[in-house]
Symmetry: C2
Subunit: 555 residues, 2 copies
């Protein structure tokens, strides 16, 4: 089979205005970024159409080193639905340069289920990430300058809570000391960088209704505390307007196309392990304004992305998905069943059976939101018929739909079974309105405990003294009604990235808490998770190149 | 009179493909970035046409707090030449977000001589700066990771010469310590950020012939030295391909339009005080491929931008300008004549006369390159007839052309006198081939001395021990044939930013030397100049906002 990039190149792309026209987007409103990428202005969201569109969430079992292909299934499902005559649009997150050049090498689907032009989407795209990086660091520069210029007047901040960001995997920037080398270089202090997908501004972009709401949220960003224990915000710094100006184009969703020339929105890109992991609300709503079926994806396993999709994104936007699709693979399930990475391509029914416990836990979790579930078995060429049959039987036993997805190898044709199951399930038994894991009025520790116990399966939650200090601040600020966003390893239900399968009886330790007062959520950092990843010994960057005018190494 | 932004908004913009079509650029080749911005592929450069086009450099007297309006004159001259029936295109540098949000608030011309859409040009534009920032910091992350991953094998670098960059004014990032907080956070070391316009990658972009040449230069970037005193480059790191992929779109010049809908290229943006200060060679050549007259600008005073334009850009590209225009203002000259900032709007013939010494020195400097000179007197509403007459008389005495430019208030109509003078001068006495200030085969200290003495007027040059250490490395590497790029304050011929007028008898101290082995030049840092600027007490960012859907505070 051809590589992802060979397939991407073999597709004859439609001009993006044609793609827009095909789903009824007024082409005069479409702003081109090159021939095949466009921004669609946010004012085209039609709330009536949003109400009548069928939203489908695609999530997955706990990821392993085997890979899952959640984005591929999401795109494949959209292709399959279009294939059976439904008007379907997929809404995805934008890839980050950090993982693209670090571990993964790209995040635009795979095989015959990709969003295109994949090179541009994986690289600078429409500049949204860069604008967020700029805006975030501009605030920090203005804040440090404020402290520096006002030091003679005795002004200062007791605590500085705002960091910097870069869209790169760089462990050496996690903890740094800035302002050394003499007094002209500012005030010396401890500081640090997160990766751009962890920026509060990324979360704000993904949760904002429009530019006005974005500005309001930028104003509210908490930068630190004065010596009188007063919160100090971007509004206090007097630069909310300037920061909004830097972000003015980011609010408009990005339109691209699939390998079968159907419309796809790719907009916003927080990770689900260190942030809330969903594409923007405006992109989902834009897709729903022009599509009868909209497939959206939440990052990593359902304990991370799906939980945050429901408890944060749906809670804040009022979105009501009709169905949740959980992606599982035989290889992934086998790893959860104790099979080692080098053996996962061999048939192993015992290992697979054991691994089904991971899927089972995720299904129960999704059902706790009152969502109906369908399992998409994402087929790899090494999967045996017996393995597929075992997962199918399990799903019958569990009372959830099951379909094999083979869009990677066959495009929309390979997702017809899944598409028909999804369409039928939505028609026959659409999900009830969402039930959330916690209520707005629960305290922040209660919210964290409810997610940790009822979704992760933790026995108890402990808080560091730093976390407790932040909990007190949250109470003092009167913002306990915000939803919570737990940052945790994606490789386990617990905070221990070696605990595959279904971790039980564990203690979840909250190391730190970050107040996202503009995004209106509380980020609780569990275990050792880092909001700035590192690079592996052999980074993907060493395999990326331009050969004969074509890009190699992005997939 | 209307503000810059009001004027910008009042102009009815042509679609960018129409602008391209008007000068003969094949519209199918034009890649839109929105309706009014495009990239024009670098392969459209036509070297035969480049040879026959008339290149005009616009430079200036030493800048003061009074401002000069060099970009406004450059654009105005293009408008004026078009007005008198010549096919003229202007090629300018891209603005940097640092100064836009710091001191200046924008850099796209002013009044009725602007490039448009000015908001986009002043903000993220086509993402060139962001791509450079990404590429630069990606190299650093990969380098730090290489050191971290290989520490057990005893590998390391004795000296690390590569920093990070951000497009922001942030003094606290000048000198930092990275990799603190434990062993998992990498190797602790001293590090720092420059502003993106000082990135060697910016210089590479501005000097590269095409993408292949860009890749070759990226490979050659010197990152540090091994313990065996061997140079360690991006090629050694194995990531030149990946970095070129990040930069693949940046090489294509950006096309926009003037306030009178004529074509303008805006591409590359090094500052002339901390870098070489010229727009890209490819943008200049692209403009010359489609325009009979091409106006290009070099940053700050002629001692900085023009010197580097001739000794670096023209030397490396073979470009031969037909004429140099020096922009002078009455207010600026008065400041050089000792008049204080609060008095420069009042007529003061004595101060003006004294200030003419600054202009005189610049004229002689430009003549040392065998360039013919025309002085463009950039008119402000407060200038008196007597003042204008005095500058005119001086120019007659000095034997250089003189014309008043009023394009700020009147657009192309206000630059007809200047345009006619420029066209006539080029026709009647085009400049002789360039003579450079130093030869390739001069040693680096000799090159620095020649520029310091013959252009700046220094008595002597001294080198710090750090600079001497770098000079030895340069000798050992066999790269003494590179041209030099002196980083120096823009406010004086000397390195003392308080020494207005014509500084004499001064010592120029070279504090540090940076090897730009990819850009193929040696950066010598003189005096206190910082390659990462700071923000003022009252930054422009506090005045930037969106009001009724329109951006305020960029001008």
């Amino acid at each position: 089979m051809k590589t992802d990039i060979e397939i991407a190149r073999s597709v004859e792309l439609d001009k993006i205005k044609k793609v827009a026209c095909n789903v009824g987007i007024p082409v005069d409103e479409v702003e081109n970024y090159g021939r095949y990428i466009a921004k669609v202005p946010v004012h085209l969201i039609n709330e009536d159409k949003v109400k009548n569109s069928n939203l489908i969430l695609v999530t997955a079992i706990t990821p392993t080193k085997a890979g899952i292909g959640k984005t591929t299934v999401s795109i494949g499902l959209a292709l399959g639905l279009n294939k059976i005559g439904k008007k379907a649009i997929v809404a995805l997150r934008e890839p980050s340069l950090g993982p693209c050049f670090g571990m993964k090498g790209g995040a635009a689907g795979g095989g015959y289920a990709q969003v295109l032009p994949m090179e541009n989407i994986n690289l600078h795209f429409t500049g949204d990430f860069h604008a967020i990086t700029s805006a975030h660091n501009m605030i920090t520069a203005l804040l440090d300058n404020y402290l520096y210029q006002n030091q003679a007047s005795g002004f200062g901040l007791k605590d500085i809570l705002w960091k910097r960001v870069l869209d790169v995997n760089d462990r050496t920037l996690r903890d740094i000391v800035t302002g050394i080398g003499g007094k002209a270089n500012g005030i010396t202090r401890e500081a640090g960088f997160d990766i751009t997908p962890a920026s509060e501004i990324m979360a704000i972009l993904c949760l904002a209704r429009d530019l006005k709401d974005l500005r309001r949220r930028i104003e509210n960003i908490l930068l630190g505390y004065t010596y009188n224990d007063k919160p100090f915000t971007v509004k206090d710094l007097g630069v909310a307007g300037a920061i909004t100006v830097l972000l003015k184009d980011t609010i408009h969703p990005n339109l691209v196309q699939t390998t079968e020339n159907t419309a796809a929105f790719v907009h916003g890109g927080p990770f689900a392990n260190i942030a809330h992991g969903c594409n923007s609300i405006v992109a989902t709503k834009m897709a729903m304004s022009f599509g009868d079926y909209v497939i959206t994806e939440a990052g990593f396993g359902a304990d991370l992305g799906a939980e945050k999709f429901f408890n944060i994104k749906c809670r804040k936007s009022g979105l009501q998905p009709k169905l949740t699709v959980i992606v599982a693979t035989a290889q992934g399930l086998k790893m959860h069943g104790g099979v080692s990475l080098d053996k996962i391509k061999e048939p192993n029914l015992n290992g697979l059976c054991e691994g089904l416990k991971n899927l089972d836990k995720h299904i129960n979790n999704i059902r706790s939101f009152h969502q109906n579930v369908v399992v998409a078995f994402n087929k790899y060429s090494t999967d045996s018929e017996e393995e597929i049959a075992m997962v199918r039987e399990y799903c019958e036993w569990a009372g959830v739909g099951f379909a094999v997805n083979n869009a990677f190898a066959q495009g929309g044709e390979g997702a017809v079974e899944l598409a028909e199951l999804v369409a039928r399930t939505i028609q026959e038994k659409p999900s009830a309105p969402l039930t959330f894991t916690y209520k707005d009025e629960d305290s922040v520790p209660e919210k964290i405990e409810k997610v940790a116990k009822n979704i992760y399966g933790a026995k108890m939650v402990t808080f560091s003294s730093q976390a407790n200090k932040m909990l007190k601040l949250i109470k003092d600020m009167g913002i306990s009604d915000y939803p919570i966003c737990i940052a945790k390893t994606q490789y386990s239900f617990s905070a221990d990235d070696k605990a595959y399968g279904v971790a039980t009886d564990f203690e979840l330790h909250i190391r730190d808490i970050v107040i996202n007062n503009g995004a209106e959520m509380i980020v609780a950092i569990a275990g050792d998770i880092m909001r700035m990843p590192g690079l592996p010994k052999d980074p993907q960057a060493t395999r990326i190149d331009i050969v004969n005018g074509f890009i190699d190494g992005l997939s």
